[in-house]
């Protein structure tokens, strides 16, 4: 299931609901992405971030996330997938994204969870804008994110 929403969500409640299973699921893997409170790669000496605004491309966002979800189901034998991604303004510490995967065995759940967040970062049309004391900055794409996606392209079964 894909959910694109402005509202905050309760990570624990979402995972608990996702984990309510049939008994056929042997493992649930989750990734939660949070708003950091500093600009750049490392916290030492970095300007503080007061808030972040996520913009997206309504329509294309849902289409891309559904395609990514379908690709995860194609590659692994999964019982279920949940991706929640927020847009709008949020404060440091708030969750931005939650990825949950469930499977009979742990490897499929763990690998597909990492695949989903790696792919999402370079294929879903979201853009982050950070508010700092010096003004607002659009976050630049990271080469490491492209490399993380490329790794899964190479290992496509």
């Amino acid at each position: 299931m894909i959910r694109v929403q402005q509202a905050a969500f309760d990570v624990g409640a979402e995972i608990a609901a996702f984990t309510q299973g049939t008994g056929r699921v042997g493992g649930v893997a989750t990734f939660t992405g949070l708003v950091r409170d500093y600009l750049g790669e490392t916290p030492e000496g970095a300007p503080p971030v007061r808030a972040m605004t996520l913009e997206h491309y309504p329509g294309m966002t849902e289409r891309q996330l559904e395609r990514i979800e379908a690709e995860a189901h194609r590659r692994w034998d999964l019982a279920d997938v949940l991706v929640i991604h927020r847009y709008g303004r949020m404060a440091p510490g708030e969750p931005i994204v939650l990825v949950c995967t469930s499977s009979a065995h742990r490897a499929a759940a763990l690998e597909s969870c990492q695949f989903l967040i790696d792919w999402l970062k370079t294929k879903a049309p979201f853009w982050k804008r950070e508010e700092t004391p010096d003004g607002d900055h659009w976050v630049e794409a990271r080469a490491a994110d492209d490399a993380a996606t490329a790794r899964w392209e190479r290992s496509a079964p």
Binding site: G59, M60, I117, K121, F126, W127, W138, E140
Partner: protein
């Protein structure tokens, strides 16, 4: 066709959306970027670094050589930074 701008491209162009009629010689995404760059100073700034601009045609990613002749909606935006 409808043209959408996101993130800093929208900031530079000064609008999120516009409807345009392109001349026949605008065949590809690259052609369209060059043509749009001539519309205003803001457009010129938005398309000044074409390697930093990504495109979607009818909500699917499209490269610079993709045809825009049948496109209803073309979007321009920076490399994505979600997750």
């Amino acid at each position: 066709m409808k043209v959408l701008y996101f993130a800093w491209l929208r900031d530079r162009v000064g609008t999120a959306e516009e409807t345009i009629e392109t001349p026949a010689e605008v065949a590809t995404v690259a052609d369209l970027m060059g043509w749009l760059a001539g519309r205003s100073d803001g457009h010129a700034k938005a398309f000044a670094t074409p390697d930093q601009v990504r495109c979607a045609i009818d909500q699917a990613f499209a490269g610079p050589d993709a045809s825009v002749s049948d496109a209803a909606e073309v979007a321009f935006f920076p490399p994505v930074t979600g997750g």
